[in-house]
């Protein structure tokens, strides 16, 4: 909603009008108020049609484009100096041993070619000497990382009687050193200038195929619409994430926005458009293998996580808001294991499984293809049409059993029906369980603005369809029963046996419905919110969470969505229709954390606490009242009474370590990071690398591709030759308004099926002519992984680009189709590959290469 306050919006890596059509009303409001809308995209889409500027780009070269913006801003001295100096780490000094990709032909210092990994020692801040540590009797080992590092000293023993505050205080690092003149060659500012010096408009044109004039127009528009009186926003979605450089790509936008002073201010920011309707919620409550609810790391066998005490001390950052981690961790264990979790048994921490590597989607499917996995439960997933779909279908054929919960008989539930499969060879036993739709069950969704909305069931599901909540609850109860009998050889007996699973149906909730045994979603909601363990009253704020087992909380970020007001429990996730309480709408739903809608909003005031301008007034310091205020009703994302002039405190724990002009309270130094000395495995500053499959070599460095890209060298996943001649065409995959994901919610619906009935590939008239393909004819998209057949949609909305003097064609293919449902079509993902970003293991379905041929795939 904040996009309505933007003066300029750049959509890049997002096709918002098509993929987030309802939210697109906010940019349209901004436009009506005079904002300039820009779309940077390989294709001219329905979003482009709504924008003032359309800027073509070659898929996968966004870092070159955004790095070009960084260079343009710095070269022309257009950065927002006061903001950058106070709020970012521009002035911070980096270890003198740091070597940039410019000096190292595409590598940062610390690269180990054997392990294909970076040692981050030379990326660290220069700091003052850390305070003397009080000896801890049982500690052994040494601190691994310097700077404002993570304490990694193992400590023996239980958490019983431990004073976490003292232990955390004992791990305070030194204070980062700064040069406020920004002249020191080791300042982040100077490093940045050197790093991006060659990302000139001319270089952008050469690499991205974007005409120089269009690029400069974007840069000038952004600069003109940033500063004290104006703010610009970036909007992205999976068009930025799904690359082998995905995380760094988004970070580059972070650099642009920090330099222009557009973070934490109304109309600014980087809008991450998450999936519908609760992808945000499923990251929060956490469907990823490596995070527990509330962004707590899953215990890892490779880290100092052997005991609860060591886990907590490893994970707790002494100098950021994360200094409160002990309370979040212990409360979470208390929520999961209830009465059985005590300080004496370390709250049953030892029963939690530890991860031993990357267990994300792609490596798990690789293991499945090798016969290492016996069974799989699939819900809301359709691997049979997912990345390198043929590989995944073959992998599923190695399973002994497969359970699929879905609305319709998805491609995955009948993976053996694919034309290339021979069912007589497949031994997998498949169980299909019909699932209830969202309107057929109680629950909540958290949308892209972190706003949670609780909803009531509207109708009974048809036939045997049940909520997935019922499935998991019932499965849990059955396992508990089995384990209570003490099955010999059972793995993790104590973990399963001691789960609370205290979600028994509430008779009042189910009175009107057919199924009386549906568990209570509200009880789960309350567990996530957190409650006082003794009184069972919900907690109003995460500040109430304790590390002594007196509170239970499933996910600290959600504490406060249920509140005790005058003795009554209020569900703030419930919608109050018709209530208009301003554009922030603090009473419409509830945004985590603590109903703060605009994160880091202290940055909307200058270092002294005054609004940057009357027009962009948001959070500000009221000197008379000695408190921060926000007239729009947003939550203050800062210590409420910490004055702007408060100096940094070298012995302060948590945010007390930061001064009063450090808005980024989740960061260890309170600053926005132009240079990320930790957190990323592939470099502290974003660098342009070509996609793993590209028709051209890297024009900036000898190192063509991200050196630590996750690659899967397994049968059935062969990569196209890099910069070769066999696969000269760049291809990107995408979604349409008319369908959703692999189509399981849309291709079965006749009204939607007729709107987009068949798979097509968008190609330019130029490429169509070269390949002798007429509009509407069948064509084949070919890669080393397979072939996909589609109809040709010949359109000038696609265009050949001139990349380093040569023509590069791009085509686009939506990936909604499969062999089930009403609107059927070939599987787009037959041609994609398993290759991933090293930080988060996301695939590169947005930029790879192919060959286009006329005609059908099968006779």
């Amino acid at each position: 909603m904040d996009l309505q306050n933007s003066d300029a919006i750049v959509f890049m890596g997002s096709n918002m009008a098509e993929c987030h059509p309802v939210g697109f009303k906010w940019p349209m409001k901004a436009k009506a108020k005079g904002a300039t809308l820009i779309h940077v995209d390989p294709r001219f889409t329905r979003t482009s049609a709504m924008c003032d500027q359309y800027v073509p780009i070659r898929s996968g070269t966004d870092i070159a484009f955004l790095g070009g913006l960084v260079n343009y801003i710095l070269t022309n001295k257009k950065h927002f100096e006061e903001y950058v100096l106070s709020f970012s780490n521009a002035a911070t000094l980096i270890n003198a041993g740091f070597k940039d990709t410019e000096e190292n032909d595409g590598f940062f210092s610390g690269y180990n070619a054997q392990t294909r990994a970076y040692d981050r020692a030379t990326w660290q801040y220069q700091t003052s000497k850390a305070p003397e540590r009080v000896p801890e009797p049982s500690s052994t080992g040494e601190t691994k990382e310097g700077g404002v590092g993570t304490p990694t000293q193992p400590v023996a023993g239980s958490v019983k009687g431990v004073n976490f505050a003292a232990l955390v205080a004992n791990r305070l690092p030194g204070v980062p050193l700064q040069d406020k003149t920004l002249n020191d060659p080791n300042t982040v500012f100077q490093i940045l200038k050197r790093h991006y010096a060659r990302y000139t408009p001319e270089m952008v044109e050469k690499i991205c195929g974007t005409p120089k004039e269009l690029f400069i127009k974007v840069a000038d528009t952004l600069i003109a619409n940033s500063g004290r009186d104006k703010t610009s926003a970036f909007v992205y979605a999976v068009g930025w994430t799904q690359h082998t450089t995905g995380v760094q790509l988004i970070r580059t936008a972070g650099l642009v926005q920090l330099l222009l002073g557009n973070i934490g201010r109304p109309g600014g920011g980087i809008m991450a458009l998450r999936g519908h309707a609760s992808i945000q919620g499923s990251t929060d409550i956490a469907s990823l293998y490596n995070i527990h609810p509330g962004y707590l790391n899953v215990p890892d066998a490779a880290k100092t996580h052997d005991t609860l005490l060591n886990y907590i001390l490893t994970e707790t950052q002494p100098t950021s808001f994360w200094s409160n981690t002990p309370a979040y961790v212990v409360s979470q264990l208390k929520a999961w294991f209830g009465d059985n979790a005590t300080a004496d048994n370390d709250y049953l921490y030892d029963t939690l499984p530890k991860i031993t590597g990357d267990h994300s989607h792609l490596p798990v499917m690789v293991e499945m293809s090798q016969g290492k996995i016996e069974g799989m439960i699939l819900t809301g997933q359709n691997p049979a049409t997912s990345l390198n779909a043929g590989f995944q279908r073959n992998a599923m054929a190695k399973l002994k059993w497969l359970v699929v919960l879905d609305f319709f008989e998805t491609e995955s539930s009948v993976f053996w029906k694919h034309a290339d499969a021979d069912p007589t060879d497949i031994k997998t036993e498949v169980f299909f369980l019909p699932a209830a739709h969202i309107a057929e069950k109680d629950g909540s969704m958290t949308q892209t603005q972190r706003t949670i909305q609780f909803h009531k069931k509207a109708a009974d599901p048809p036939g045997d369809a049940r909520s997935d909540l019922f499935f998991w609850y019932d499965l849990g109860l059955r396992l508990k029963k089995l384990y209570a009998a003490g099955r010999p050889g059972a793995k993790n007996l104590d973990g399963i046996k001691n789960m609370t699973l205290d979600y028994a149906p509430d008779p009042a909730d189910v009175a009107d419905w057919i199924h009386k045994d549906e568990p209570s979603a509200l009880k789960i909601f309350k567990e996530i919110n957190g409650y006082d363990y003794k009184t069972k009253n919900p907690l109003n704020s995460f500040a109430n969470l304790a590390s002594d087992g007196s509170t239970a909380c499933g996910a600290w970020i959600y504490t406060g969505m249920l509140q005790l007001v005058n003795g009554q429990v209020v569900n703030r996730g419930e919608m109050l229709p018709g209530k208009n309480d301003g554009w922030v709408s603090p009473n419409w739903g509830w945004a985590w954390p603590a109903n703060r809608h605009q994160l880091y909003n202290r940055a909307s005031a200058d270092p002294a606490g005054d609004p940057w301008s009357a027009k962009k007034k948001y959070t500000y310091w009221d000197a008379a009242a000695k408190t921060w205020k926000n007239d729009a009703g947003d939550g203050i994302d800062f210590t409420l009474t910490k004055a702007p002039a408060t100096p940094a405190n070298a012995t302060g724990v948590g945010v007390a370590f930061h001064d009063g002009a450090s808005p980024f309270l989740l960061k260890k130094d309170g600053k926005g990071w132009l240079f990320a000395y930790e957190g990323l495995s592939d470099g502290p500053i974003p660098t342009h690398y070509e996609p793993w499959e590209s028709p051209v070599k890297n024009l900036l460095y000898k190192q063509d591709r991200n050196p630590i890209t996750k690659i899967y060298d397994v049968p059935g996943n062969k990569y196209n030759e890099f910069a070769g001649t066999q696969f000269p065409t760049v291809i990107t995959t995408y979604r349409l308004t008319e369908h959703h994901l692999s189509g399981t919610m849309t291709r079965w619906l006749p009204w939607l099926a007729e709107l987009m009935p068949e798979l097509f590939v968008e190609i330019s008239p130029e490429l169509a002519k070269e390949k002798d393909i007429a509009n509407g004819e069948y064509l084949r998209v070919i890669t080393e992984r397979g072939t996909t057949e589609a109809r040709a949609l010949v359109t000038k909305r696609l265009r050949p680009l001139t990349v380093n003097g040569a023509i590069v064609h791009q085509v686009g293919m939506p990936w909604h189709w499969g062999y089930q449902g009403i609107a059927t079509g070939d599987v787009a993902n037959n041609v994609t590959s398993f290759v991933a970003d090293p930080n988060v293991s996301i695939h590169e379905g947005k930029a790879f290469t192919c060959r286009i041929e006329k005609g059908r795939a099968r006779a």
């Binding site: 697109f24 979003t47 006749p750 007729e754 000038k796 265009r799 009403i822």
Partner: protein, 303 residues
Amino acid sequence: MSDLRGMFVDTSICTGCKACQVACKQWNEMAPGVPLPMEDEAAVREHRAFTGNSYDNTGHLSATNWRHVKFIEQIGPDQTTADRSDPRWLMMSDSCKHCVQAGCLEVCPTGALYRTQFGSVDIHQDVCIGCRYCVGACPFGVIAFNQRTGRVNKCILCQDRLEVGMGTACAKACPTSSLTFGTVSDLQAMANDRVKALHARGQTDAYIYGWDLGNTGTITAGPNKGSAVKDVEVVGGLNVFYLLLDKPEVYGLPAHAALPQRNFVPSAGVALITAAVLGVTGLAAFRRNRMDENAAATVEGGA
């Protein structure tokens, strides 16, 4: 006048999402172009219609498509050269315009087509005899014959919703307010403001199709770049009217719509003479009887 209800269709903010098409079919419980899978799966597959015409796969208004979003690609001045300057992709959600002088209504011999209390044109399905005169009489090609029922269908401005104080289903579903439901006078004021606002930000193409509110403009892109445009009032005004960004013909709308029955004046004269010559005057009389009172009056008055 204040009771008249209509819609303002601002094509400058239409994102082509087709939510209006789906909402229309859902509210009016209309069959999709493809039948349900349980009925005949083979037929379903056969009926899938990838048209290759931009993102439009439903083609045109029909008895089961009362609303249709048009997609007009204008990437450069023409679509055959490589020139991609000033690219734009025009989208427009089309439907019955509920004309002030409705040709369909005037030719309907049974009174099946009628003017509602909201000024819109509805159809009494049980009175329609399927003669299809209205199909030819509509200057916009809106009304279609329904092979299944033997009667005609078109958008009825959600008469059932209006009767209980609701707006149209399509406007309710529109995420960007490209479709706005309201009283025609309010909508005219809104449209006029919108044209002025677009002109102020340099989008001088904008003008109104349906009413003449006095706006003029110049087309800024596409094959008609540089051409002058001005507000167009057709058939006495349209209760569902449009803000357009190019000439009406580009959207498949007539630049000078007239009721086909205007031609009845000369043609009826010719018919009379012919009838006299052939000695079968009863034919003309028979035909007049089947017209509704107004239409008949027009013809007689003219003759």
